[in-house]
Amino acid sequence: MTISSDFNITPASDRTLLIQFGEENSPNVQKAVFRFSHYLIDHPLEGIANFHPGYASILVSVDIDNTSVKSIQKDLQQAWYDLGNIELPESKLIEILVLYGGECGPDLIHVAEHNGISESDVIELHSCGEYYVSFIGFTPGFPYISGLNPKLETPRLNTPRKRVPAASVAIGGSQTGIYPLESPGGWNLIGQTPIQIFDINHPENALINMRDSIKFIPIDEEEFERLKQS
């Protein structure tokens, strides 16, 4: 085994197990999350209802109507030994066009003020970063995108919004992401993309997948409207 990461597995509720690969999301830990997630996709284990990759962790929900949490804990431990050097599929580069600020990004001002920089600094720093997708979570198709410049880190809202428009680009803590569908949400909204990134009827054909590289490209209102209508 060439992966240098931990593998701690503990119950998170009476129907879930949390696998933690490390305390922090280091590159090795992130790789372990990718590898184990792909292993679970390619080798579905009987008795697992769902798995939820996160930062440095995977939450596994157990089909407790048919098996026990303890039994799946053993199976997952065994799967970790069996993992070996599985090949990961190719990752893609996805370009996301963004109209920053205004009605599309009502929290751009807040992100700027919180970090003591101007709104155009926020746009500049956000769009020059190199990002990759750590995992899909929160709501259907929502990519958690890593690589945010620490100068843009802004805590989540204390009271989440009940409605965030679809295609909003947002910052939550040290993370950035895109809301694929209208949903509630607690992140700071800084812009919007005119592209539909996710079709709920075909979740496996999503534009953005775990491990993809992402680039944000600023566009103006005119281009935004044109692309939105096309």
């Binding site: 769902n50 990759p53 962790s57 929900s61 929160f138």
Partner: protein, 311 residues
């Protein structure tokens, strides 16, 4: 057979056991909010355990049946009648062709299930017939039923006998929503002894912010001593998350698959049906149990459903 929606309820959706297998794509399982009542409903009319039913929330609406049908209402008691004759829950209702079932408001908890022999006929989407309301996925066009909608039902393909329920009191015990039992959450240690004391010994009230995705609670300010954010991680069904404003949220069947708020506790699986019956204004207390007790309580609940035998 078809069911015509003559009058819509507050939120009536097609539900089954849910849609597992897609959490890594951000899709939570959805499915019946109170699977205990849903499962018993299917059992009573002789359905297979995964046949789809209608989940009715707070007020029911009016439904006309185009053929004779055997149906049952389970869960919370609603003020319901067929042609102005009052009908009971947990027992068969024989509806004649052209008759309509009126379901007014709940006299008890949040939800009841209308199970029809054969189950509701909507397309399978990602292996489930359940509606994920928050995203408009599955069920009947991804929506709550509206006046004028027509639902088809399946001809039952099995030879299951119907089941007659003898002891309704035993059922009520499983649905008693004055107490919700929990086990300690992943960030349970982020909350000090005083906060835990508040959490377990004072009443919480269910706020108006109440949905299949989550239920916000009010009444006690629950504050973490180690911050309001965790490194984003998978959220278990029934996790009690505590955002910075101190009002806990129970994550429910349409919950976010991952989240960043610390989790003080997690509702045990046997009491998720009680959460499905919580309605705005309800007051209740949490009670702490350990993992082994939680497992045992769920196994007992499954056994209880399993042992409801054919009459």
């Amino acid at each position: 057979m078809s069911i015509h929606v003559l009058k819509e309820g507050l939120q009536t959706t097609v539900q089954d056991f849910g849609r597992p297998g897609y959490a890594h794509l951000g899709i939570s399982t959805s499915g019946a909010a109170d699977t205990f009542s849903y499962q018993i409903g299917n059992k009573l009319v002789g359905n297979d355990s995964h046949d789809a039913a209608l989940e009715i929330t707070l007020s029911g609406g009016e439904y006309e049946f185009t053929s004779d049908a055997c149906i049952v209402l389970t869960g919370s008691e609603f003020n319901a009648s067929v042609d102005d004759e009052q009908v009971s829950i947990w027992t068969w209702i024989n509806i004649k062709k052209g008759q309509s079932l009126k379901i007014r408001s709940s006299c008890d908890g949040a939800r009841c299930y209308l199970c029809v022999r054969g189950g509701i006929d909507v397309p399978l989407l990602l292996n489930s017939r359940s509606t994920h309301l928050m995203t408009g996925l599955g069920g009947f066009k991804g929506i709550a039923l509206r006046k004028g909608n027509v639902l088809d039902t399946y001809q039952s393909g099995n030879n299951n006998s119907r089941v007659e329920l003898i002891n309704v009191n035993k059922i009520q015990m499983h649905l008693d929503r004055k107490t919700i039992r929990v086990i300690k959450g992943m960030e349970g240690d982020w909350f000090n002894v005083d906060v835990w004391d508040l959490f377990l010994n004072k009443n919480f009230t269910v706020s108006q912010s109440f949905s299949r995705m989550g239920i916000r609670l009010e009444g006690n300010h629950i504050q973490s001593s180690q911050g309001n954010e965790i490194l984003t991680q998978g959220v278990p069904l029934g996790a009690i998350q505590v955002p910075g404003n101190g009002n806990p949220i129970i994550s429910f069947v349409e919950h976010q698959t991952t989240g960043g708020y610390p989790r003080i506790a997690n509702v045990i699986s046997a009491d998720l049906c009680r959460v499905g019956q919580l309605k705005p204004g309800d007051t209740f207390q949490f009670e702490l149990v350990n993992f082994e007790a939680a497992e045992q309580l769920y196994n007992e609940q499954m056994k209880f459903i399993h042992n409801l035998s054919a009459s």
